[in-house]
């Protein structure tokens, strides 16, 4: 009994020692920032030679910084620092190990055009993500998303000479909507303040509606089905109008931020206009009203597709895709009116031929 107690004591002691040992030698971000907090370059580096400094404050605000991801969690081939050496770690480091956490994204990327570009090696994560300062993209607009990603390398206007009105398309549609056809996409309604050329803060928006984020649907969704119908959307617009809230909804088509969004395609990208420009296009099925708090937290509320096909969203019209049915009914009535008058007149004219014939003979 005494012997087994001794073994247990030894074991616990060894465990505590090993924990304290590794804690003492764990590499923290602060260790790295001793050198990397200032911009600097190293010619002897075999990987990146420039831009080796990291803005500590920006990193802390990044999605990785906020989640306490340390430098060596990604730069995993640094296992120890020899602080007495001129360079405390190897100068021959591999790229950051993003796939160790983001394996689904890596798998999708491997099936994308970016995995095997024609004139260069595979596109690295950081080339798009600037990964020391990755921020959440839910609140980003089409312009912000494409500007921060695709437009770094690609000029959509030059690459789509066949596309009519490319500026209009690219101001509304995010590249992956067409270039990752397997990824879900949705229509985003963002309240826009034209006077200041910016989307209105969600806090201001819900305050104008006399509620908060949690109470928003109970104010707007009168039917209680958790979907803002076209008529409820219209009422909401009138209410904003009554409260003198200047603005309109900007309509955007965004890709859902799923790992699969990395499977960017070139040859199989959607090019057929009818995919969107069709009365039964799937691209207008998922519509959400999007608000974001001052800190960027997104709030989404489901909106019925019919709202897109109404004058509530008078600034947006996708030919055939979001047409207003009542306009067509009115148009067909105008057409039927013309046909009806002609048909009636012609009928009477034919029926009265004998009368005119008789008059002529006299």
């Amino acid at each position: 009994m005494a012997r087994s107690g001794g073994i247990l004591l030894c074991g616990v002691t060894a465990l505590l020692l090993s924990i304290s040992w590794s804690a003492a030698w764990a590499i923290t971000a602060d260790d790295c920032f001793q050198c990397h907090s200032e911009p600097f370059a190293r010619d002897k580096s075999k990987g990146l030679k420039a831009d080796l400094g990291v803005d500590q404050e920006r990193f802390k605000q990044s999605v990785h910084g906020k989640n306490d991801i340390g430098c060596v969690d990604c730069h995993a081939d640094i296992t120890e620092l020899k602080m007495d050496d001129a360079v405390p770690h190897s100068v021959d480091l591999g790229p950051a190990q993003c796939p160790s956490c983001h394996s689904d994204q890596q798998e999708a990327l491997a099936n994308s055009v970016h995995a095997k570009p024609k004139k260069r090696g595979p596109v690295m994560c950081w080339e798009c993500h600037e990964y020391h300062y990755v921020t959440k993209l839910e609140s980003a607009s089409v312009k912000e998303r494409t500007g921060a990603f695709c437009k770094k390398c690609h000029d959509p206007l030059k690459l789509h000479p066949w596309l009519p009105q490319p500026e209009t398309h690219f101001s509304v549609i995010e590249c992956p909507v067409c270039h990752v056809p397997t990824n879900e996409s949705f229509v985003n309604l963002r309240f826009w303040d034209p006077d200041h050329d910016k989307s209105l803060n969600g806090d201001e928006f819900v305050a104008a509606m006399g509620t908060d984020y949690d109470g928003f649907m109970s104010v707007v969704d009168k039917s209680g089905d958790n979907v803002i119908s076209a008529s409820e959307f219209w009422s909401m617009m009138r209410r904003l109008d009554d409260k003198d809230v200047e603005g309109k909804f900007h309509v955007e088509m965004l890709a859902d931020l799923q790992p699969g969004i990395h499977a960017v395609q070139k040859t199989t990208a959607i090019r057929k206009c009818e995919e969107c420009h069709s009365s039964n296009s799937r691209f207008f099925e998922n519509v959400t009203l999007f608000l974001h708090s001052a800190d960027g937290t997104p709030h989404r509320y489901v909106v019925e597709r019919d709202a897109l096909e109404s004058f509530s969203l008078s600034g947006f019209y996708a030919l055939a895709g979001t047409r207003i049915t009542y306009v067509d009914i009115l148009g067909i009535l105008i057409l039927m009116g013309g046909i009806g008058v002609v048909g009636l007149h012609l009928t009477i004219r034919i029926l009265t031929i004998p009368e005119r014939q008789a008059k002529k003979e006299h």
Binding site: T168, S171, C273, H277, L319, L330, G331, G338, I339, H345
Partner: protein
């Protein structure tokens, strides 16, 4: 047998304008239906329909400018100006003819001449069509052709859907107009008198 009285009513430029207009309208109707009801109708590809619609839209614009200049330079534009003192009774007489007299074989109260081509009802209809509705259709068409370029104008009138609604309702109106126009063209001195006149320039008087 009464001798036919022929008058030269439609000079060559006007006839070229008319038939170019007619062809353009028909193509714009067909492609417009394809564009508007894509998903329900598949006569052509959407892209093909849009390109063709745009091309003939521009044909219509240049044709309109040509027509307008011709009307002003030749002085024919005066044909559209109603006599304010007689327009109301003349319109009533003309409406009575179309709604009753024509069935009874009554003579057309309007007498054609190169300086008096349109009856009072035609004058009013053509003033509205040629100086308001066609320009409106062309301008809304231009807005839809290049949204970015015409965004200030689009925003001023309330947004793209407003512009589109005007364009589409006018589209249906012009389809109805063309049907009515073709039918009314059979109400000349003979069934084909007006149509022949628009081909040869010479028209049999009422």
């Amino acid at each position: 047998m009464s001798e036919k009285h022929m008058i030269y009513l439609h000079p060559v430029p006007l006839r070229i304008w008319h038939w170019t207009n007619a062809l353009s309208f028909i193509i714009l109707f067909i492609t417009g239906i394809q564009i508007r009801f894509s998903g329900h109708i598949s006569l052509f590809s959407f892209q093909g329909a849009v390109s063709t619609h745009q091309f003939f839209g521009f044909v219509l614009i240049f044709n309109y400018i040509f027509w307008f200049i011709f009307q002003v330079v030749s002085g024919q534009i005066k044909n559209f100006v109603p006599n304010l003192q007689t327009v109301i009774p003349a319109s009533i007489r003309q409406a009575a003819f179309y709604g009753y007299g024509v069935f009874k074989g009554a003579p057309n109260p309007h007498h054609l001449s190169p300086d008096n081509k349109y009856n009072a009802m035609q004058q009013q209809a053509y003033i509205a069509i040629m100086f308001a509705l066609i320009p409106l259709q062309l301008i809304t068409g231009l807005c839809l052709w290049k949204i970015e370029m015409f965004q200030p104008l689009i925003s001023m009138v309330g947004g793209l859907k407003i512009v589109d609604t005007v364009h589409v309702l006018l589209f249906f109106f012009f389809m109805a107009f063309m049907i009515t126009h073709i039918y009314l063209a059979t109400l000349g001195a003979t069934v084909l008198a007006h149509i022949k006149g628009m081909i040869t320039g010479w028209e049999e008087s009422h």
